[in-house]
C-alpha cells in the first residue's frame, strides 16, 4: 500500500514536471499553425501558411545555413584542439600542467556576454571586420573547454598500454593518435562534438555582437521578432524542433538501438 502511494506520488510529480517542460513547446507548436497574423489566443484554425512563409524567407534560410556552418566548423575545431590538448596533458608530464588545465577550462566559468565583449574590444582595436568567422572564433572559445574536459576526463590510463603496443609496432605519434587513441575515445569525442554543435546552434549573444551582414538563426529570429508578432517565428521554432525529434527517433531506432549495450 505504501509502495503504491509513493509510486503515485512519484509519477504524479514527474507528470507535473513534464507538463511544465512541455507547456511552452506545445503552445509554440500550436500557434505555428495559427490561421491569422497573430500567434496569440484565440486559436483561429489550422493553417500551414506560416511554414510556407518560412521556406519562402530567403534571409531565414540563409541564417539557417549560416548557423549550420558555424556550428559544424567551430565544433570540429574545438574538438580537434581539445583532443590534442587532452592527449598531451594526459600522456606527457608537462611542467605546469595543472595551470594549463585551469587555463583551458577557464572560459567555461565566464559568461558568454563577457567573452563576446572582450572579443569585440580586441577586434575593434585591430580593425578586424565582423563576420561569420568572428562568430565562429567566439564559439570555439566557449566550446573548447567543454571538448577538452569531456575528452580529457575519458582518457583512462588503461588505454596507455594499447598505445604503447602500437608504438612498439612502429607507429608514429600521429598514427597512434589517429588510429588507436581517437577510435578508443570516439564516444566522448562524439559527445563533445554534438554538445558543441548544440551550444553553438542556439547561442545568441556572441553571434549577435560579433556578426554583421551574415547572421545565425537565433540572431535572425531576434530581428524578425523585433518587427512585431508573427507566427513565422513559431513556425521556424517548431520546424527545427520537429525535425530534431524525428531524427532523434530515427537514430534511436536504427543506429543506437543496436549499440544499446555499449
Amino acid at each position: 500500500m505504501r509502495d503504491m502511494l509513493t509510486k503515485i506520488a512519484a509519477f504524479g510529480y514527474a507528470g507535473l514536471i513534464y507538463g511544465f517542460i512541455f507547456l511552452p513547446v506545445a503552445v509554440l507548436v500550436l500557434f505555428s499553425f495559427q490561421d491569422g497574423r497573430l500567434p496569440v489566443p484565440p486559436f483561429n484554425g489550422f493553417s500551414l501558411q506560416w511554414y510556407e512563409a518560412v521556406f519562402a524567407d530567403r534571409k531565414l534560410m540563409a541564417a539557417l545555413a549560416n548557423s549550420f556552418l558555424v556550428a559544424i566548423v567551430s565544433s570540429v575545431i574545438a574538438c580537434l584542439l581539445g583532443f590534442l590538448a587532452a592527449y598531451a596533458l594526459a600522456r606527457y608530464k608537462l611542467p605546469g600542467s595543472a595551470l594549463q588545465r585551469g587555463l583551458l577550462i577557464a572560459p567555461m566559468t565566464v559568461s558568454y556576454l563577457i567573452i563576446a565583449l572582450g572579443l569585440l574590444t580586441v577586434l575593434n582595436t585591430f580593425g578586424i571586420s565582423l563576420s561569420l568567422w568572428t562568430v565562429g572564433i567566439g564559439h570555439v572559445v566557449i566550446n573548447l573547454p567543454l571538448c577538452f574536459a569531456i575528452i580529457y576526463s575519458s582518457m583512462g590510463d588503461h588505454h596507455i598500454n594499447i598505445e604503447r603496443a602500437a608504438r612498439d609496432l612502429g607507429a608514429n605519434d600521429f598514427k597512434v593518435m589517429a588510429l588507436v587513441t581517437a577510435p578508443m575515445l570516439m564516444p566522448s569525442i562524439l559527445a563533445a562534438f554534438f554538445l558543441s554543435v548544440t551550444f553553438s546552434w542556439d547561442e545568441f549573444i556572441i553571434a549577435f555582437l560579433l556578426s554583421r551582414f551574415d547572421v545565425t538563426l537565433p540572431v535572425e529570429i531576434w530581428s524578425l521578432l523585433r518587427s512585431g508578432l508573427n507566427p513565422k517565428t513559431n513556425a521556424i521554432g517548431s520546424l527545427v524542433f520537429l525535425v530534431s525529434v524525428a531524427l532523434l527517433a530515427v537514430l534511436e531506432l536504427t543506429l543506437f538501438g543496436k549499440t544499446k549495450k555499449s
Partner: protein, 364 residues
C-alpha cells in the same frame, strides 16, 4: 567538471543534433540569388530589410545590398566606430540626429537637384535637421508618431485625448510604456506643457517625477514586440509611445486597436537617409537613396514588413491601396502634423541625464 554530462548517454543523445541540423540545412531550398557584380553596405532601420523593398533595386542595378539594422542612434554610432572608413555606403538615421552625424563628418553632401524635395510633405522636409550651411546631407524618408495606442473596447477613447492619462490612476496596471527614452521623455514634456525643442536641465526634476508616476501606474516597459504582444493579448489596454507603427499592420486582425494624438499633442519621429562620406561607391549609394525616396520605393517602405508608417513623399500615395492609406491615416496627416512636435534633441550631457532618468525609472 563535466564528467556528469559525459558518457555513452550524451554521445547517443547529442548525436541527433548534427543530424537534425543536417536535415534543416538540406531544406534550404530557396535558390541563392545570382551573384551580383557590386555590393552596397547600408546601416539601416529594420523596415529596410524587407526583401520586397530592396529586391527591385538589386535587380534593376545588378547590385547586392547588404543590410544591417540597428535600434537607436547610439547603437549606430557604436557600429560605425567599430568599422573601418569606407565600410558603409548608406546610413538611415533618426531625423533629429542627422546633425550629430554631420558633426562627426559621417555624411556626404547630396546635390539638391538629385532629390524630389518638392514632393516631400513640407512639414517633414526638416531643413534645420537635414541641412547644414545650405548643404543637404540627408533626406526624410518616413515619419510617424509616438503617442497613445489603446484598445478602444476596453478604455474610454475620450480619456485618451488628455495626455495626463499616462500618469493617472484610472488605468493603473493596464498601461505599457514603450522602451525608448527620447520620445517618452518628449511625451512627458508635452504633458507638462513644455516644448520638446526647449528642454533643458532645469526641466529634468519635473520630468523625473512624472516618469516615476508613470512607472507606478504601468504594468511594464517594453520593446516593440513585447508591447505589441501585450496590447494584442489584452495584457495591457494602453501603450504609451505607440502609434500607427504598432497598430497599422494589425488593423485587419485587431480592429479594436486604435491610436490617437491627444490635445496636448504628441511626439513625431522621422527617419532620414543619407550617403556615407567615406563610401567608395558614392554614385551607387546616391542611386539607392533616390530609389528609397522615389514614389515606388516610398510606398514599399511605408508598408514594409517591420513596421508601417507614413512615407515622406506625397506621391507615394499613388502607389498605395485605399486600405493601406486608411491604415496609415493618410487623410488625417495635416491635423497630426500640426499637433505634434519633434523628438527632443539633447546635448550630450542632457542626453546622459535623460538616459539615467529612464534607467532609474525602470529600476524603481
Amino acid at each position: 567538471m563535466i564528467t556528469s554530462v559525459n558518457g555513452a548517454f550524451a554521445r547517443r543523445f547529442f548525436s541527433s543534433v548534427a543530424a537534425a541540423s543536417l536535415a534543416a540545412v538540406s531544406t534550404v531550398s530557396a535558390p541563392a540569388p545570382a551573384l551580383a557584380t557590386e555590393e552596397l553596405n547600408a546601416l539601416v532601420w529594420c523596415d529596410h530589410t524587407d526583401p520586397a523593398l530592396v529586391e527591385p533595386f538589386e535587380k534593376a542595378n545588378d547590385v547586392k545590398v547588404n543590410l544591417k539594422d540597428y535600434e537607436g542612434t547610439g547603437a549606430a554610432l557604436s557600429i560605425l566606430e567599430q568599422s573601418q572608413p569606407g565600410d558603409w555606403d548608406v546610413l538611415v538615421i533618426d531625423g533629429v540626429d542627422v546633425q550629430r552625424a554631420v558633426g562627426l563628418d559621417l555624411l556626404a553632401e547630396i546635390p539638391a537637384d538629385k532629390l524630389p524635395t518638392a514632393d516631400i510633405f513640407p512639414e517633414v522636409r526638416m531643413e534645420a535637421n537635414n541641412m547644414k550651411d545650405g548643404k543637404t546631407y540627408a533626406v526624410t524618408e518616413k515619419f510617424g508618431y509616438n503617442t497613445i495606442s489603446y484598445d478602444k473596447t476596453k478604455v474610454d477613447p475620450n480619456d485618451m485625448k488628455d495626455l495626463s492619462v499616462i500618469w493617472s490612476d484610472k488605468y493603473k496596471g493596464r498601461i505599457a510604456l514603450y522602451d525608448y527614452y527620447l520620445p517618452m521623455i518628449g511625451l512627458v514634456a508635452l504633458g507638462l506643457g513644455k516644448k520638446t525643442a526647449e528642454l533643458s536641465d532645469a526641466d529634468m526634476p519635473a520630468i523625473t517625477e512624472k516618469l516615476s508616476e508613470m512607472k507606478t501606474v504601468s504594468k511594464q516597459v517594453s520593446d516593440v514586440v513585447s508591447s505589441q504582444t501585450a496590447l494584442a493579448t489584452g495584457e495591457v489596454d494602453i501603450l504609451v509611445g505607440g502609434g500607427e507603427w504598432i497598430t497599422a499592420a494589425l488593423s485587419g486582425e485587431k480592429p479594436n486597436l486604435d491610436w490617437t494624438v491627444p490635445d496636448q499633442g504628441a511626439v513625431r519621429w522621422a527617419q532620414s537617409i543619407g550617403v556615407m562620406k567615406a563610401s567608395k561607391k558614392q554614385d551607387l549609394a546616391l542611386k539607392f537613396v533616390q530609389y528609397i525616396v522615389s514614389p515606388e520605393g516610398q510606398a514599399r517602405l511605408a508598408t514594409s514588413s517591420c513596421y508601417w508608417a507614413m512615407p515622406a513623399n506625397m506621391k507615394a500615395g499613388e502607389h498605395l491601396t485605399d486600405a493601406q492609406k486608411a491604415a496609415l491615416r493618410w487623410n488625417d496627416q495635416t491635423e497630426y502634423l500640426k499637433k505634434t512636435q519633434l523628438y527632443p534633441i539633447p546635448s550630450a550631457e542632457l542626453d546622459q541625464k535623460m538616459q539615467d532618468a529612464w534607467t532609474d525609472m525602470m529600476q524603481q
